[in-house]
């Protein structure tokens, strides 16, 4: 029953595109039961009514790229019982973490007419690099079913079912024919965290790794296969440098390719 004792939910945005928050609004059929079970106290994307903390559940989207945000996430942590990061930006730094591989000073000079007005950090970092995180939802964007599973788990006080195995197992359960084996299409599924339901291979595309590394990825074992399929070193490097470029296992893979081919 709705009542004053409903857990209070807040949704926060850092450097990100809002796509993961929109997944919440995308839960059309389930949105009413959610609103029934939790009080949506702070969700700018959905309502201008904003309630003060503390919050029982904070969903955090986006990465830390400016000094103000590094301070803001600490305040949010202090006001939150469960802090859950949602999406590739929050969990690994996102596509904007490509700056971690380059010289941000140079970007500032080239891109902005008055770079002195700009205060930014040299890196884009995941939320967990700043504060303790209780659970994370991967993906660019996150998957609606995983969001509902997580909220359901928190509400009933149980451990969420969020397997950290590979996309391949989801492919096989779904009956997909492996695109790597049957088409020679490069695929990151063997090193990528499950959760999407193997959508891309179901449409004959290789996995782009938007859920980031799986629990025990072995990218070094995949590189020779991708090379044998004809990927050039610069393509291979880019393959691992997308939404989760700064996730340690993907970062190590792109750097090992770069080191082998020497400086650009």
């Amino acid at each position: 029953m709705p009542g004053p004792s409903r857990p209070r939910l807040a949704v926060w945005k850092f450097a990100s595109c809002d796509g993961c928050q929109l997944t919440m609004l995308d839960c059309e059929d389930e949105l009413l039961p959610i609103a029934d079970r939790v009080e949506i106290a702070n969700f700018h994307e959905a309502s201008s009514a904003v309630g003060d903390g503390p919050y029982d559940i904070s969903l955090v989207e986006g990465s830390i790229t400016v000094p103000e945000d590094a301070a803001r996430i600490r305040e949010i942590r202090a006001q939150s019982r469960f802090l859950v990061t949602i999406g590739a930006c929050a969990t690994s730094g996102g596509i904007q973490a490509l700056r971690n591989f380059a010289d941000v000073e140079e970007f500032r000079r080239v891109v902005y007419a008055r770079p002195e007005y700009l205060r930014t950090l040299a890196t884009s970092t995941p939320i967990a690099a700043h504060v303790p995180v209780d659970a994370e939802l991967r993906g660019c964007p996150i998957h609606k079913a995983q969001l509902l599973e997580l909220l359901g788990a928190i509400l009933s006080g149980r451990r969420p079912n969020l397997p950290a195995d590979s996309v391949c197992i989801e492919c096989k359960r779904r009956g997909n024919v492996c695109v790597l084996v049957a088409r020679g299409t490069p695929c990151l599924g063997p090193v990528t965290h499950a959760g999407c339901g193997a959508i891309c291979p179901a449409f004959h595309r290789g996995c782009y790794g938007c859920f980031g590394p799986s629990e025990a990825p072995v990218p070094d074992a995949l590189l020779p296969k991708l090379e044998a399929l004809g990927m050039r070193p610069e393509e291979l490097e880019r393959f691992f440098q997308t939404f989760n470029a700064a996730a340690p296992a993907f970062r190590a893979a792109s750097e090992s390719v770069r080191n082998r081919r020497g400086p650009p």
Partner: protein, 383 residues
């Protein structure tokens, strides 16, 4: 016409094959078998004859598979594909039961059994051997009601392989290519020496009843001979070989063999081999409650010994390295399976070889250890 009996051999003309399919559909079966989808010959429901891979075959090798046209219009001119029949008897995801709140307690609502029996059209010798294995696996302390419910009523229509794939080694495992007695009907497709036809051998009274609704004639004496030649030709064309002599003791006796480290460096731990294998049966269950907490479903899904989480016991995984997980898989499959289930867990179908994205081949791994069983690690400590 006198009804056929077990052991009868009859000839079914290719032109009457649609009537054979019709007899299955009219008999109330959900007919599943090979069909072309997504660039491979997979298993799916057959609703018309054209759903069969007529005139198709495949080329497969370790880590690669390509669909290819045949020069004839054979109905079963291919070997194994990415799917195995286990997906019907032991589905990738299956609801086991539902719990519903009832006052301060709850009641369990069991899963109703599926009323429509399957007809499995096109099981190969290795598939039937795998079925015998999973029959034992799912009949341990408590028989699995879902598996056995579907299994008991499934019609097994075997097809003898007309050739072996480069990844096949059923001869080594003693499971094929000839089909023994474990079938309801057995078909050998005959493409030469007369019209396109099938030798049909009756393996059970259920099979006989189906065949009696199809126009066939007693097999001419040449057809059983031609069928024997098909088996001999396929047996001679095995692409892989594994000498099973002493493998159980070899694997169990050498947990620190350096080859485990070598293969682990190549292995992705991606689970594809276990998913493709017709006898791998690991699963996990999850509880899926609704948001209100008055209804909760218990689901089972395929899991794999290659997953870190799978060996998670009180606080940490007991097989933390890729090396220990690959070793667990192969040692269970080829060694401790004998102690647990009374046979090898491998039927030599070669699926794990083809569908391993990085070409890991268990026959090669075993051969390497057989060649140098007492090799010791010279560099680094095994993880």
């Amino acid at each position: 016409m006198t009804p056929s009996v077990v052991g009868d051999r009859r000839t079914l003309l290719r032109s009457d094959f649609p009537q054979f399919l019709r007899a299955l559909w009219n008999g109330g079966y959900r007919v599943v078998g090979p069909t072309v989808r997504d660039g491979a010959i997979v298993l799916g429901e057959l609703r018309e004859e054209a759903d069969l891979p007529i005139g198709w075959t495949e080329r497969q090798e370790a880590g690669t598979y390509r669909l290819a046209p045949r020069e004839d219009a054979a109905l079963f001119g291919f070997t194994t594909g990415p799917h195995s029949w286990k997906k019907y008897l032991f589905p990738p995801r299956e609801r086991l039961w539902t719990a519903e709140a009832e006052g301060s307690s709850f009641r369990v609502v069991p899963e109703p059994s599926d009323p429509v029996p399957y007809a499995f059209l096109g099981m190969r010798a290795c598939d039937l051997a795998a079925l015998q294995i999973t029959d034992r696996v799912f009949d341990r302390a408590v028989a699995d009601p879902g598996y056995h419910g579907r299994r008991a009523r499934a019609l097994r229509i075997a097809v003898v392989c007309g050739h072996a794939a480069p990844t096949c080694f059923c001869v080594s495992m003693g499971t094929g290519p000839g089909v023994g007695r474990d079938h309801d009907l057995k078909l050998t497709e005959l493409l030469d020496g007369g019209p396109h036809r099938f030798l049909v051998e009756i393996g059970s009274s259920v099979g006989a009843a189906v065949l009696d609704r199809v126009p066939t004639r007693p097999a001419a004496s040449a057809d059983p001979t031609a069928a024997e030649q098909v088996v001999a030709r396929t047996a001679a064309g095995m692409g892989r070989h594994l000498d099973p002599t002493g493998v159980r003791d070899l694997l169990l006796g050498h947990p620190d063999h350096p080859r485990w480290t070598v293969v682990a460096a190549r292995c992705l731990g991606c689970t594809n081999c276990t998913m493709a294998c017709p006898t791998c049966f690991c699963s996990t269950t999850e509880e899926i409650p609704d948001l209100y907490g008055d209804r909760s479903e218990k689901w089972r899904r395929w899991d794999s010994c290659f997953n870190l989480e799978f060996s998670h016991l009180h606080g940490h995984p007991v097989r933390p390295s890729g090396r220990s997980r690959y070793r667990q898989w192969l040692t269970h499959k080829l060694a401790s399976w004998h102690d647990q289930f009374g046979s090898s867990g491998c039927v030599g179908c070669g699926r794990c070889i083809t569908w391993c994205p990085v070409q890991i081949d268990l026959t090669e791994e075993v051969r390497a250890m057989q060649a140098d069983p007492d090799a010791v690690q010279t560099t680094g400590a095994p993880p």
